[in-house]
Amino acid sequence: MIEFTIWDILRNLLLAARWTVVLSLVSFLGGGIVGALLLFLRIGGNRLSTAFTKYYVEFFQGTPLLMQLFLAFFGLGLFGINVPAWLAAGIALILWTAAFLTEIWRGSVESVVRGQWEASASLGMGYVQQMRYVILPQALTVAIPPTVGFSVQVVKGTALTSIIGFVELSKAGTVVTNATFQPFTVYGLVALIYFALCWPLSKSSQILERKLNVAHRNH
């Protein structure tokens, strides 16, 4: 039997953690783009598009991410394609992230008081101008802290992709455990790596929240 040092274990985990980072970035950016599109469908669109986004959000927030991954994985398979895990993982995570981000952003836009819409309308601005110059700049300060905070959920969410076979940090944890028979050490290290990825994001969200709220009170 081969002996594994802590360093061997850590090196393997860190190599796999790269994929956690890549998948997190892709999901967050992709989810942001889809989320923005959904946002405009939700607040700027007609009744139909509003209803669509509502059900979209309800579905992704009301069902387990793991199920969404399974559905993407097996659902895409129905088209006869042999779906690689990374594709199913990416699609599911992007759509899931989009649902949460669009809700966060909608709340931020709605937090801008009615008077701001009325004031800008009374100055003769159109919808796009109101959005661009009056509403979005104010909504942005409200939206930033929870958006950054949600990135933590995305990083943690990527752990589930190991279940459909995407090799990232969690999957590596299982593989290394099976090789070393040291689950306590390996999963402890895996947890610490996740913590190292997530904690700075959590903290910056908190700090932003405090800063932007203070700025808000000075209005």
């Binding site: 387990p64 793991l66 933590v152 752990a159 306590f184 913590f195």
Partner: protein, 223 residues
Amino acid sequence: MTYAFSFSWLAEYYPVLLKGILITIELIVVGGLFGVALGTACAWARALGPAWLKPLVSAYVELIRNTPFLIQLFFIFFGLPSLGVRLTELEAANLAMVVNLGAYSCEIVRAGLQATPRGQFEAGASLAMSPIQTFRYIVLVPAFQRIWPALSSQVVIVMLGSAVVSQIAAEDLTFAANFIQSRSFRAFEAYFVTTAIYLALAILLRQVLAGIGAMIFPRRPAR
């Protein structure tokens, strides 16, 4: 796409689904009750407890909130036996849910406590109540009323998160789906039905929690 959907397996496998649903409900009831209790105790410790306890609670909360539930579960189920703590699949799943929800509800309850006007503590003190009595009888209920919506959302999130306990072979709803798809080879349909059940459970759970809220807080939110 020439795939023909088939749900005929439901006739044979619905008892498996039912059992899975019951386990998932058991997980969220136990996890919800003990998790919120743990979170409340932690919130008390962080806001009003002894100084030595505060950093310990903070470390616990930060560690749990910044690591995936799946890894917490694996650590408890696979890792703890090296310390001599051996749990069954279901025990490990329950424990993981309590520990997870405990950390999140700690933060939520703490926010509710922090929003308590100082005068409430002073009124309790002036009536000769001890700090614990003031917390228990005066501060706690209005604080819970304030945070009930946030707490309810978190309980639903944890319920949905419980799907991963199937990975340590705890026989919850997802485990049932995995079992069925491996037998019937109807993977998409099995997960589709299961997803629909989760959605129904989530909607139901929200209703139940709103009902409990209306029952224990008969008044409109405290100003």
